[in-house]
Symmetry: C2
Amino acid sequence: MRPAQSESMPTRPDPATPSSAIQPPATDPTLIFEHFRGSYGSELLTVAVAHFNLFGLLAAGPQSLTYLCHKLGLETRPANVLLTALQAMQLVERADNDRYAVTPLAREHLVPGAPFEVCDYVGLAANAPGVLEMAERLRSNRPAESGDDEGAAFIYREGIKSAMESTALARHFTLALAGRAKNVAPVLADRLSMDNVSRVLDIGGGTGIYSIALLQKHQHLSAVVLDRAEVLKVAAEMAQQYGVADRLELVAGDMFADPLPPDCQAVLLSNILHDWDVPQCQKLVHRAAQALPPGGRLWIHDVYLNDNLDGPLPIALYSAALFTLTEGRAYSQAEYRGWMHDAGLTTSAAIPTLVHCGVLTGTKPIRSSPNEPRR
Amino acid sequence: MRPAQSESMPTRPDPATPSSAIQPPATDPTLIFEHFRGSYGSELLTVAVAHFNLFGLLAAGPQSLTYLCHKLGLETRPANVLLTALQAMQLVERADNDRYAVTPLAREHLVPGAPFEVCDYVGLAANAPGVLEMAERLRSNRPAESGDDEGAAFIYREGIKSAMESTALARHFTLALAGRAKNVAPVLADRLSMDNVSRVLDIGGGTGIYSIALLQKHQHLSAVVLDRAEVLKVAAEMAQQYGVADRLELVAGDMFADPLPPDCQAVLLSNILHDWDVPQCQKLVHRAAQALPPGGRLWIHDVYLNDNLDGPLPIALYSAALFTLTEGRAYSQAEYRGWMHDAGLTTSAAIPTLVHCGVLTGTKPIRSSPNEPRR
């Protein structure tokens, strides 16, 4: 499994034993992440019952997203996160395409005054710190700031304080998040075809672990990681450690504004779009599509909500985590496909990887071929 | 389903329409309680990883409960709660009867330094308020106090401030907890035989909802609820509302110290023992057994952990909730049976009711009959 080693890699600290990024874990860590995120279910349920009286609002009949947003003072993103989770919990269902209704379960147990309601039981947690924090996040539609005034931790954009601008914090968060990515990267590298790809652009690649796995798997490949300068310090260490520094270019920049590195036949957005709201996602997908040559591929590697945004529950709770920590949420394949189609790409079936993730491929048509299938 | 009504009930406010406590809910609310308690899983996992380094401690080999308690500074109750939940999450397993080991899943992903560990990812929640609170509860082995200095909410004992001594709070908590009990009581009343029982003692009966259901189901029956005076104010209202005030006696007292009301052929401990630590449970079971006539029955209606205290997960998380709010935890049928046998009772198979609950029956032998089966 280990790549052949060249003696002409002067930058590798221990050329005899580079780490492997293509050996997958023996056990699937998904369950650990699901246990870890159970708190989001508790908090969203308690907020819905004890702070928003959502089930009381729906008791008289189905209501539209617009009505609920207005009534609860919520923007679309938090309303989506909440309603997705409550649908996944079987407490809310669609009455029709745009209207939400209580399920029989919620009608009997979560509507105030119902004979078998347990609202006050759930309300015993109304003032738990995590519940109050979730209510505030939903109302403000802003990611949490770390307690020590370091700003939003996981994203960077102009005008928002980001922990990714502090060397020590960027290193800590980048490596912490890489714990999950290390498990997933070998599976992604195993499942992606590199036919006609000699250079990959890894946008927001962080530690670069996904690129590193691709490079270890495919000896002909080179890659570019585009990320913030502080984050790339970690990627540089990793490239050494994994013995691919000679084929991994690190480019500091702003993925929303700076020119994208040229000459890449594929662009990878691995667990990036879920950090951003819809307009930013559309912009990134469009920029990636623009940067690709005809026949080039965009890989969106991420978790996927059901196309009607009603589950599955583990992704709905991960979506709540993303909501509270970033400007994003989990999206559906339908949403990703829509943005890719808008950017002129054709899409194919998603391939599952690990820890709830999968990869969707968008292909830029070869305009010179009139027989190229389009959809 | 509604009991026949007598015109000689002067205390009933609306004799034409007493509420029914014996009509069960149409939908099973269990799922709601499971979603509600997901936070305990998040918190216990995060404390184990980020505050106790439990998986690091176990990496070198299995360790006894005694060793872990000593190393982590934990008493037996919190250690049990934590280890039960981690076993239910498939992260810890028994190496033998008394020694705990990491599972292959935890060894690969939760031992610091392991190639696929996600300790720092889990550690991102290390300072979440709920996690810090859980770590403190586990270390102190004391129930949480409400923020407004009202004392431990759900239990009463000498020397501990209890919300059950404040009229308003006692009413609020008693009614909140009754939300769950209202769902379960009809099922319990349906499944318990009242053969040879004309009077039931309901120890710590709160709103009295369990007794009320039994009284509505069985017209020959009378019952006594023993609880704190403030709690019984709610029970008195409920007895009126449900039209059974003429058959329900309310006795204020201390279940650990005061003489138990006599002439009851059955004693009900419904969701009471889980509020107390082992010595108090043993004392209550012993007192109940002493109060029974030969042939009398003790019903322990509660949730049950597996006999080897390794799950199931929803009960393990409920146990964590009980741990943080009371002096108790969830117990196994084996533990309850042991205490009943020690008190001279014979036991029979548990009967499931609702919302994870079931009822165990202990019978006091009729000493005059040498053929009475014992076990």
